[in-house]
Symmetry: C2
Subunit: 349 residues, 2 copies
Amino acid sequence: MTQRRRPTMKDVAEHARVSISTVSYVLNDTGPVAPERRDRVLDAVRVLEYSPNESARSLKRRSASTIGLVVPELTNQFFAMVAEGVQKAASARDVLVVLVVPDATDQSEEKQAKLLRSQRLDGVIYLSGTGSLPASILELSRFGPVVLVDEQIPGFDLPAVVCESRRGARELAKHVLDQGHRRVAVIGGPSALWTAQQRLAGYREAFAGAGLDPDELPVLVGDYRQASGTRLAAQALAGPAGERPTALLCANDLMAIGALEHCKTVGLRVPEDVSIVGFDDLPVSALLTPRLTTVRQPAHDMGYRAVTALFDLLEDAQESPSPARLATSLQLRDSVAPPPPDPPPVDAA
Amino acid sequence: MTQRRRPTMKDVAEHARVSISTVSYVLNDTGPVAPERRDRVLDAVRVLEYSPNESARSLKRRSASTIGLVVPELTNQFFAMVAEGVQKAASARDVLVVLVVPDATDQSEEKQAKLLRSQRLDGVIYLSGTGSLPASILELSRFGPVVLVDEQIPGFDLPAVVCESRRGARELAKHVLDQGHRRVAVIGGPSALWTAQQRLAGYREAFAGAGLDPDELPVLVGDYRQASGTRLAAQALAGPAGERPTALLCANDLMAIGALEHCKTVGLRVPEDVSIVGFDDLPVSALLTPRLTTVRQPAHDMGYRAVTALFDLLEDAQESPSPARLATSLQLRDSVAPPPPDPPPVDAA
DNA sequence: TTGTAAGCGTTATCAT
DNA sequence: ATGATAACGCTTACAA
């Protein structure tokens, strides 16, 4: 723990008995250097354990080799997966990732703004969690690229890496309908969110495709959190067996898990009494009982591709971003079964 | 997306008709400035949308207001929670967090080393996942503080924020023994890991406390991953009902989940046939069936406190770090029950 | 092929 | 109370 002063290029130059610029030439492989002197420099670097001061470099180069990653929370595995993808892609390019997790409680919007503005970041990968664009991000987008992941924000034409949510949702709903379900309810996401809209649209397409009227599909609006899944499942499944839905389309896994929880509490069997599907394919979904039928989103890939797109934008500011619509895949698991036969009607008379 | 040149202090100074130093005085609140001119400066800042170039600041101040966070993976919710805590604490101090997720596949050890060395980081929060200290981190610790979270690395006296793993493990094991279990097996973590050692020690203490011989406690060594839990549970539970363990102490939740999976596969009921406990209290553990009995670790707090400790170290390099042993808490849930009575012996004769 | 020197945008010392 | 000015450590013309 003995704190040492870090050597500078000047130290290296002196040790190697060359000029500072020669050192720079060697380190950046710019400009010709005699092999013998190059070795002297490399030696000095090793001996002194020199490594360049990146602050000085950034200052000179006007680029920080750093990108920002803004995610609403890390404990949501979907975001964690995206974050890993981002970090991998960045690391492959020798770029640092600064992690920002905006906190509703403190004055972090202000802080975040300052941080993003301070030109320590060449660009930002942004996941809102809310569907809206804070002023700070908008401002930033005037100075450098901002790439969205798995969302699109109405009114702002920002580059985005998304996946085929709609198609995935349609296939998932089709699967449910194919099993014979007809009384189906949706537990949707916040209507401001692009993903929520896409998934709902997909469900409705499947309905229409099965010759049903999409407008008869009841939709309860949740907030993508587990608790709202529990609450809305309770609401949706309140009626008697012959009337209540036999299948619940939940717009994400977290809400589906909440719905599962409700069913467990009130003694409804899944999938015998009611089928439940999610969306996201969080790692946990395969561990539950029953295992959740869901749609896998290429979260890691989306993160990775977002970084690719960001650098495309950075490198040639005119070029259009790389293709950015990734495939989803249906994960058929045991939370779906054919609907139970309706119980014989009980005459109240 | 119109790219603008960012204003510098010089621009602000000109706009406000003051000198550059006056601007600096105002912005940093260092040195006296006449109220009227101060306003002019603040105005100019607003009009020009000026924000300081942090690279220049870092260069001058010799500190980057940035810390590094090294975690083995983000999809493990324990690490994700720590990361959130770190980010919160850093944000409260206006410090950036650079995320590093070392990747075994590429030459990332080298990259990571370079990155950490480049004095863009004032210090590092390090979670190894392996129990060992890579050369790059060790080197870094000679230039700036490195704080460990939930581990300690033999041979290196690095500051660490840990929790009472041992106590938690003891209480958990005691609970199992209190239920009447006597044939118990441990599915432990990698023996190089401090946490694995602590937890094992805790189990053994509970054994001794119950008047049993700790040396008779069978220990299978896993790697903290789910698959090893499955594999080792299969191994541990191979014998006939009267001989096999009635309880499995798994050194983390992931392995416990794996064990649960094995039981489901072979038709062993939990907890009727075998009780299973974990360690960590991952969010998912409460969702499983049965809900996993486990020990909660204050992951978020550990992350937060690690940052506190880091800055204590940074601010007065002589002072000892802040207290750093956090409490754990037992989470009693339904994966534990009294052991089944032994079946009557079947005579082979 | 090598070195000199002028910045990059700040901060902080020192005159004024 | 204010303003020149010299660093901070690096890159990069330009000169030699």
